[in-house]
């Protein structure tokens, strides 16, 4: 045993010496400037991390499939500057530790050109530094957190969703105009989603009469809803995720509490909430106010909805066309637009410069904000109200900033899809 060990050490030491000599020359970065990772003359490899399994999979798992379907549609029509887009989707199960691993796999192993639409604040928040160190474009993060709009700290990262402050300012503006003199309260999630939303509401309305919050791990919201009722709140602004919007409405009904509910776009659309509330949905959702920045997936008259529905039918196995499908298609469309703008000589720098130049027009109801010192996505939302079992847009879209700027109507109208539904440069 001893002799065996000694021999082993000797062999290992010899090997170590040989390896360290070999290693000294090995560690310099290879392919510096010569080639762009993930890009060839005929392909562009892009990756994403999504919750395909686990607690966040319901609904969200449809996003990346829709984006992929749109890319396949573009590829079938010749790709972008002759390059076909390959979209590698990896599952992180909404587990930040798993995100760490799979994003390293995408960047270090698969050598993707960019990470596109990584989903979730806690998940994606953990890989920002890694992506920055490796100079990987981190585009259109699927979150409205202000974390993803820090151009000086994370110059590679661009958000996509409307940020929570902006949206709640638009919601609060609607409340101010439509329900003047009513007692307004706030109920939100106890993280940056809730904090940012409250900040937006209070910027427009001043301090609210009462505020309550919840933790996503505790599904009993009766104490909070009871407190809102006791405080005599007439209008409640919600910063809740979809299941908790449904819980809140249901709990209020159980407590015999009637009020006007105004929910963030994060808190679910008509279809999503109806599915959760079941039979009681039409009654509970009547009058519910929410907002959004993309056309309704149910609006057949909208040319974008029609375009994406057709793509969904042909390239996505004609799965149910819902808000998340629409969202995924919009991500794909915006990315193709950015690639077109970056030109034929695609590099990571040229792509990010193209996005910072901004001026993207797409399916959204409001313009995107991208510029050199603003890396957040949509600049506002449009209010919709559920009436008689139908969700209908109200008024025009409104845009604002994340500070104390005014909430202003956006009247330029939405863009129409280009020929064939593929952006050109």
């Amino acid at each position: 045993m001893f002799r065996f060990a000694r021999r082993g050490v000797a062999v290992a030491a010899a090997l170590a010496l040989a390896a360290s000599v070999a290693a000294c020359s090995e560690d310099s970065p290879s392919g510096n400037g010569a080639s762009v990772p993930g890009v060839t003359d005929t392909t562009i490899l892009v990756g994403t991390h999504q919750p395909l399994t686990g607690r966040a999979a319901a609904g969200y798992s449809k996003i990346s499939a829709a984006t992929k379907a749109y890319f396949e549609y573009v590829n079938a029509n010749g790709g972008v500057h002759g390059r076909k887009i390959e979209y590698k989707i990896v599952d992180d199960a909404y587990n930040p530790a798993k995100t760490q691993e799979v994003v390293r796999q995408l960047v270090l192993q698969d050598k993707v050109f960019a990470v596109l639409n990584g989903l979730g604040t806690p998940t994606h928040g953990g890989v920002l530094d890694f992506l920055k160190t490796n100079k990987v474009p981190d585009l259109f993060v699927s979150s409205g957190s202000a974390l993803f709009n820090q151009p000086t700290k994370y110059p590679n990262t661009f958000g996509f969703n409307v940020d929570y402050v902006t949206e709640s300012k638009v919601l609060a503006n609607y409340v101010k105009k439509t329900f003047p003199g009513k007692k307004v309260c706030f109920f939100g999630q106890n993280d940056d989603f809730g904090d940012d939303a409250l900040k937006g509401v209070e910027t427009v309305l001043g301090s609210v009469a009462a505020k309550q919050n919840y933790v996503p791990t505790n599904t009993n919201v009766a104490p909070q809803v009871g407190a809102l009722k006791a405080a005599g709140c007439q209008v409640n602004v919600l910063a809740t995720i979809t299941p908790f919007t449904a819980l809140t409405l249901g709990t209020a009904a159980k407590l015999g509490y009637r009020a006007q509910w105004v929910g963030s776009s994060v808190g679910g659309d008509f279809v999503g909430l109806s599915a959760l509330l079941g039979k009681a949905a039409p009654l509970l959702l009547e009058g519910y106010v929410t907002s959004g920045y993309l056309p309704s997936p149910l609006d057949e008259a909208n040319p974008w909805t029609k375009l994406f529905k057709d793509v969904n039918a042909e390239y996505n196995g004609n799965t149910t066309f819902e808000v998340n499908t629409m969202f995924g298609m919009a991500v794909g469309y915006t990315f193709v637009q950015a690639l077109q703008a970056a030109g034929k000589d695609l590099t990571r720098e040229s792509l990010m410069a193209a996005i910072e130049k901004g001026g993207f027009e797409g399916p959204s109801l409001v313009p995107m904000r991208y510029s050199k010192d603003d890396h957040s996505g949509f600049s506002g939302t449009q209010i919709s109200v559920i009436k008689g079992g139908k969700q209908a847009l109200v008024d025009t879209p409104y845009v604002t900033d994340t500070g104390s700027g005014p909430v202003e109507p956006y009247t330029e109208g939405a863009a129409t899809p280009p020929a064939k539904g593929i952006p050109s440069d």
Partner: protein, 415 residues
Amino acid sequence: MPNRAKPETMPADEGRAAATPPAPADPSTPGRAPAGSAPAANAPAGADPAAGDVSRQGATTAPDPVRRAGAAGAAPIRRGNTLLRHLLIAVGLGVVVVIATYQIEPFRNYQLATIGVYLCVLPGLILLTGFNGQISLGHGALMAAGAYPVALTQNALGGDAQWHLLVSVLAGVVTATVLGAVVGVAAARLHGPYLAGATLAVAASVPAVTTTFDGVFGGDAGLSFALAPAPSSLGVYFPFERWQAWLALLGAAITMLLLANLVRSRFGRTLRAVRDDEVAAALAGIHVGRVRVLAFVVSAAGAGLGGALFAVLAQSVSPGAYGLTLSLNLMLAIVLGGLGGLRGALWGAIALVALQPLADWATRSFEFSADVQQRLEGTLPLAVFGVALIVVMTTAPGGVDGLVARATRRLRRSR
């Protein structure tokens, strides 16, 4: 090399104390049943190689009740200094692994680092479950207890010097050890399903604690922190992943070395004595409660180190990373790797890191229509993973380690 008898010890074993009256002399106690197929089934409960040596001669003979109950009491017959031998093996293996880190790409180094992290946690869990017969479904929480202090200390110190990291990791280990002592004191009084339930509650409490005190722990989003890059003396282009792999593997080496010595010491023998028969152990003068608490503390320290290094790999901590799934995965890894000896930890760690990508790879070749594909995306690898687990557990109840031991034994015999 000696022909090591390797009896499998199933976790069910520890349920015996509560469920059935102690039957130390009966080789067919319920917990032992799965080992029936192995030729070594009648050997004493030599969960570690040392005891295996003792059993070598008796492996094929009739069971010896005295030996069975007191296997731990028999001094291992081995010449030379155990610590020195283990040190030599560790250094030898360490050199080989360091060479390996130069030969593989950064992502493989990251995977190697993850294996290293699990190698800090799993040996302690094997010590607790395999050697001492206590079950813990709460080691994910102990890892969290090791991880959060790292983030908090790094942020407090600035995190830009190497010694900051050392302090942070030590803070993590100490916190986890203290928490382990508290849980251990409660656990020492519980057996079987009650112990599983209590530790499960600890695991489930992590997200609740972090969201309740979100001012400190950052709620669901957790905390991220800065980390000093690899020392510049290693070269300008020294990949950070290789540095992480070194840190994690150093932690693993220290853990393995300490625990390998511990299980061969007097303490290791008392651990096994308590597992096999608490009454007999108490009669032999062993303070049963103290040993059980100590086992928990030792294993918590390992979990704390693993958790701290896990945070170093991710450069962030969040409750999602230390949830119930992690705790269950750890349990699963040691069952899969083999509870019979510390080597099972190596197989378990490799399985935790490699099985999922392998399942991904195995399912990639299947072609489905778009909507089926969409439904299976992400779930099919999980199913393959699950099936693989079931197959391994039914065909090799002693885990991979038992399987390997059996294979090498057969090879040697045929020679």
